[in-house]
């Protein structure tokens, strides 16, 4: 009863791999054991026969047939284990000396080691023998009784066959355990993602806290989900904004046009009304553009333009652009930057973010006030713009970067309420944040970015510690 999906299941695959590996390892171990026991005994037998042959051939060379016969008798007498087999035969294969009754008929050539049944002292036994032909037509048979060894080998074989069965059972059981473990670990992730797919964006993958690979995956998935829900919130915010906040300027433009249609008596009045309505529409377009740009930045697609940059010349340019404006408003713009401040990011976006901050600072500073633009490099790269305007009360700071949010003190000044949203979006894109602080009096806006060493993507695909910045 194997269902078709079984082979496609990763859990099953892992289980099968486990079983296969176990089987291969067990077989390897068995082969080694065989080689080290039964194989060793066989090699010992061969070595003993060789040693005997060496000794006997020396005796033959020294003393001829009689010396050989004496030596064979001696050795048989001294053989405590009673496992030695010698048989010396003449040219007619008749017995001259030795402890076998007759020459085994199937031992016909020199060289190979024969394994055969022999009759010894009226008992059947198993022996390994080797034949040596001597000068003068004599034949010598040297061997060892291996009956005990054969029994041992049989025991080993039996044990290994049983072991094979045990290994198969263990492999199957282990495979099931591995598969279930895998399933259980994945179940957490798949249940969460399934819930997300159904539309429940609040679910998160449980992090076991072991800091292992599964935890890393879980954390990456959770980061991804956080980001998706942030983006979704952004989309919701934008649609709400379009529904409510754009209604006001659109109403104004529409009213102007309708009013002109109904009440404008002169071509000049008509022209003036149309011009003002066009300006209103331009304002609406500008808001749209700002919204789209923020959305584009938040989508993260602009990270392709990231390079290593020095923000000092970049700040000098923005300072140059706004210095004249500040002076015009009777405000002094003071910049203090280090010799260099390397960062990793999109030059145009950072420029626009700083421009937005300066724009606000100049707009809200009182006459005679000072706007400071500073950059510091430490654990992070900070760009600070501080003014002496009304500032943002602490309770409003969290909301200040929301789209279309305009503080109480900003209601009377022109603006769309998108400036800080863009700065915050740029900061997030760079893996940093926008901090709004009290300047006593005024506002201090700090654009915090990671150092290039930290921000630049490293070649490794997966970091050992999961410091993924989203």
């Amino acid at each position: 009863m194997i269902d078709r999906g079984l082979f496609r299941s990763a859990g099953f695959r892992f289980g099968a791999i486990y079983a296969l590996l176990l089987a291969i390892s067990a077989t390897g171990l068995a082969l080694f054991l065989w080689w080290a026991t039964a194989g060793l005994l066989e090699r010992q037998t061969q070595a003993a026969i060789n040693a005997d042959a060496q000794g006997l051939s020396e005796r033959w060379a020294e003393g001829g047939l009689s010396a050989l016969i004496v030596t064979i008798e001696d050795r048989l007498a001294q053989n405590v284990d009673d496992d030695a087999i010698y048989f010396l035969a003449d040219r007619n294969m008749r017995r001259v000396a030795g402890n076998l009754e007759r020459w085994p008929s199937n031992v016909t050539t020199q060289g190979p080691l024969y394994e055969l049944q022999v009759m010894r002292a009226g008992l059947r036994s198993l022996a390994n023998v080797q034949r040596y032909d001597l000068p003068g037509g004599f034949h010598l048979l040297i061997g060892r009784d291996v009956q005990v060894r054969a029994q041992l080998r049989g025991l080993l074989t039996d044990a290994m066959l049983w072991a094979l069965l045990v290994v198969m059972l263990m492999a199957t059981a282990g495979a099931l355990v591995v598969r279930n473990l895998f399933r259980r670990t994945i179940a957490n992730i798949s249940a969460t993602t399934a819930a997300i797919a159904r539309g429940d964006l609040t679910k998160r993958v449980t992090v076991a806290g072991r800091g292992d690979e599964f935890d890393q995956v879980a954390e990456v998935i959770n980061d991804m989900l956080d980001r998706i829900s942030r983006l979704m919130d952004g989309v919701r915010q934008v649609s709400n904004a379009i529904a409510h906040d754009l209604r006001t300027p659109i109403t104004r433009a529409r009213t102007r046009l309708e009013d002109a249609l109904l009440h404008a008596d002169t071509p000049e009045a008509m022209r003036a009304a149309i011009e003002r309505a066009t300006a209103d529409l331009d304002g609406i377009v500008a808001i749209f553009q700002a919204l789209l740009r923020i959305a584009e930045i938040e989508a993260g697609s602009r990270r392709s333009a990231f390079t290593r940059i020095d923000i000092v010349p970049l700040l000098a340019e923005v300072e140059d652009l706004y210095g004249a404006l500040a002076e015009e408003h009777g405000i002094s713009l003071v910049a203090r930057t280090p010799a260099e401040a390397p960062a990793y990011g999109d030059k145009a976006l950072i420029q626009q973010a700083v421009a937005n901050l300066l724009d606000n600072a100049v707009k809200f500073s009182p006459q005679g006030g000072t706007v400071r633009l500073t950059a510091t490099v430490g654990a992070t790269v900070n760009i600070t713009v501080s003014d002496q305007g009304p500032g943002i009360p602490p309770e409003e700071r969290a909301k200040a970067t929301d789209r279309f949010y305009r503080g109480e003190s900003a209601r009377s000044t022109p603006g769309s309420g998108l400036g800080l949203s863009l700065v915050a979006a740029v900061a997030h894109l760079h893996g940093g944040e926008l901090r709004l602080e009290d300047n006593h009096p005024g506002l201090r806006a700090v654009l915090v970015m990671p150092t290039p060493e930290e921000a630049e993507p490293r070649p490794a695909a997966l970091q050992p510690n999961h410091d993924f910045i989203c």
Binding site: Q289, L292, L325, Q351
Partner: protein, 227 residues
């Protein structure tokens, strides 16, 4: 200038064609990609205004790429509703000289198209720009008016250089921001006006006649005072 407008939206096309003709240009119009491609490839124009999304199976970028592949260097301005930075980059990479997003003010379009005009611009690098009694030396980076030396900050120098290179043409605030500061966004406050007004203090104020003029609802123009 002889200008080709490739634009499928009747209202936009009618408005642009009428406006360009009123400004004294000769205008041809194509309302689909196929005709646009044919006209652009077979006739000679001083500038082409190209919409990106066109009916007829051939879009604006395709026309542009074909022209550039044929070594046709006619100045092209893309006029498109596709406003993302990537779209803009794609357009400029395909070989367009300028990129303007819809909706647009006609004054902006006109100024940009006229700035594309390469006619009358001599070969080789220019070393000196002269308008009336105002002289700007690009090599020694000196500015003189009526023989009198004017001290300018580096940025003011570049601003004046840009205005003088486009002498007699309307230059919009966005063009200045892009051309002089290389900024591709609109600041909320009009910082450009402040810079132009400072330049005027130095270049126009001490002299009997003004060269830098404000063009209402459009931008600025540097030209000799009309008699």
């Amino acid at each position: 200038m002889r200008i080709l407008v490739v634009e499928d939206d009747k209202d936009v096309a009618g408005f642009v064609v009428r406006g360009l003709r009123e400004a004294g240009h000769v205008v041809e119009h194509a309302d689909n990609g196929r005709d646009g491609m044919f006209l652009a490839a077979s006739e000679s124009f001083d500038a082409v205004i190209l919409d990106r999304m066109l009916p007829g199976g051939i879009d604006g970028l395709k026309i542009l790429e074909t022209l550039r592949a044929q070594k046709n260097a006619v100045p092209v301005l893309i006029l498109s509703a596709m406003a993302e930075v990537d779209d803009r980059v794609k357009g400029l990479k395909a070989g367009s000289d300028d990129y303007l997003t819809k909706p647009f003010a006609f004054a902006e379009l006109l100024a940009r198209v006229e700035a594309l005009n390469r006619r009358g611009k001599g070969e080789g690098p220019v070393t000196k720009l002269v308008v009336e009694d105002l002289e700007l030396d690009l090599l020694s980076r000196q500015v003189k008016r009526a023989g009198q030396k004017i001290d300018l900050q580096p940025r003011e120098f570049r601003l004046l250089e840009y205005l003088m290179r486009h002498a007699g043409q309307v230059v919009t605030r966005t063009m200045l921001l892009e051309g002089v500061w290389d900024y591709h966004f609109d600041p909320q406050t009009n910082v450009i006006d402040v810079h132009v007004s400072r330049l005027r203090q130095k270049v126009d104020k001490p002299f009997p006649t003004s060269l830098i003029h404000t063009v209402r609802n459009a931008g600025y123009m540097l030209r000799a005072e009309q008699p």
